[in-house]
Symmetry: C2
């Protein structure tokens, strides 16, 4: 029975994390594939990111962040600091690509990452193993995997917000009811 | 050619709106179907909404808000104020339902709504037609349809946030990098 207080935090569970991570490529595919180009390139001004930029960022994360860092923890523990993650890599890597090819690549890489994760057969003790983050210092494998999940959802949220805000003026007085446009989180 | 300033606002275009509205059921299906029950019932505390609550709210919107209000505008103009929308209807309507059946119902209703919208063959002049909102007063059909799009995306954002925040503690020091958990919008 789920009680009220149970509903705002979940303890980390590997099966839940895999279930959430598995669905991100299909979610983003449904949200973005074949949208008109000007929506794919939309952003929030300045050097904020477009949906196109975000998919490139997620690809770079599969290649250099999540499973590579998990392997560093399991092979080297705290002795080897993670490589710094390049938050801007997608601006060169995605150049000349289509959104469709980025979505396909992200889906393929995510499948590979999760297959690799599964093959590690991680135990509760493994999840407690520690690594060293370049800024934060000691972190656990459990924290890394929980962050992978939250990071996916952060970018689903960001893309939804970028798209919705394109209609900030067009919604007229309804702007007052739409938190996504008003900029406050409920 | 998309220039920098073009990227933060899009003028309303019916074909774009239909493209965005079409994809919401599949996006939410990919994000939520078959997630463990405790994630579906997760919320942000107090009387905030869970993913389950949000899908019920979107169903109620299809039944009583978007196309019904569009029809009121086209048939009665400003002469007939819209019925007030019940923001809490899903708490009784969804009782005893499964998430899967709510997702199916939302997809069916959305398809019907968009078929109805298409059959109206709306012109630019039609989009300028005015109706009367119970709180805002005069609004246009264009504003109503733009709001429908932004409202979908608002709830995709909300669901992503509710899910991510379940791991607020589990992410450890990464909390500092995750805007979805820290509560500020980028």
């Amino acid at each position: 029975m789920t009680t009220h207080a149970d509903r705002i935090r979940r303890p980390f569970a590997l099966a839940d994390a895999v279930s959430l991570l598995t669905r991100t490529p299909a979610t983003l595919d449904a949200l973005l594939r074949d949208l008109p180009d000007d929506w794919i390139a939309a952003n929030e001004g300045g050097d904020t990111w477009s949906p196109f930029d975000v998919i490139g960022h997620l690809i770079h994360g599969e290649r250099t962040d999540w499973m590579p860092r998990a392997r560093i923890i399991l092979e080297h523990g705290e002795a080897r600091t993670f490589d710094t993650f390049d938050r801007l890599a997608q601006f060169s890597d995605s150049e000349g690509r289509t959104l469709a090819s980025l979505l396909d690549e992200f889906a393929t890489l995510r499948r590979q990452s999760l297959r690799e994760l599964e093959m590690l057969h991680l135990s509760g003790t493994d999840l407690d193993r520690r690594g060293r983050h370049p800024a934060f210092g000691v972190v656990t494998l459990r924290q890394l995997l929980a962050t992978w999940v939250a990071h996916d959802l952060d970018h689903v949220m960001q893309i939804s917000r970028v798209l919705a805000r394109q209609y900030s003026e067009e919604v007229g007085p309804w702007r007052a009811y739409l938190r996504i446009i008003g900029g406050t989180q409920g």
